[in-house]
Amino acid sequence: MKFTVAGALLDACVLGALANAPAYGYDLTQKIQRTIEISESTLYPVLRRLLREGLLDSYDKPFDGRNRRYYQITDSGRQALRGYTEDWQAYRQAIENILNGGNHSDQE
């Protein structure tokens, strides 16, 4: 994929990936990498930021004698995701307009 997903879009994708179920770091990375190309080192700072902003919660669950840290979306996180989804619709439309030479502004 040629396009870099970073910043707000990446935040949105992480929230989206956690919308239906919590996940732990490795699992979440795998899931996201099935859709977009990100480096292993990209995800951790994003998770930290979303945690600090209260959009995610984390909890530990023992597994196989170790502690797995799970990340789950919060109510604020769901709210943010709704906002991002709206922003994305507008953004997607604008990009498609430009790519199509600006001739199909009321497509679909």
């Binding site: 770091g25 490795y26 480096s39 080192s41 951790y44 700072p45 998770l47 930290r48 502690n67 797995r68």
Partner: protein
Amino acid sequence: MTKNEFLSELRYALRHLPQEEIDNALNYYEEFFHEAGPQRERQIIDELISPNAVASKIIGEYAVHDAERSRRKKRSRPLWIAILAICASPVAVPLALSGFVLVVALFIVFLAFGISGAAFAVSGIVSLYAGVWAASASLPTGMFYIGLGLLAISISGSLLAGTALATKNTFFALQKALGKILIRRGAK
């Protein structure tokens, strides 16, 4: 590089962050390696590029968070974190090295000016003395050397004063520029 070497270098690169941040990061990556399994260890280390690359992202995110949190307080701490972010990044060493060499070259030039300023002073004083001594034998000759000496001394005065001023201003300008660069990088 083995997984353990990677993790301990990562811990070292993060050493100036609060302990909680360091532990969280190390736990995350230890778990990550463990979940991936020993077969993927090599591949993951390659994809992570380097402990410093990983650390600089973590430090960068922390710096932004810390800067926003302490916006009303002194700005010196986020500045320090930003300095560490640059130091942890892979470009840091060649960048710092060339910057350092440039600064040294600049100060050598200033030193050279300073030395020639001093040389003018010395020869000026010698000429002055010789002129005074010669004046008793031949006034025109003495006056010539006295004049030469005074000229040399005034040149040296300008050189030394100019060098001192240039050195001081360059030094402070460097400090300011460095500060601006680091604040911008820390906020990225």
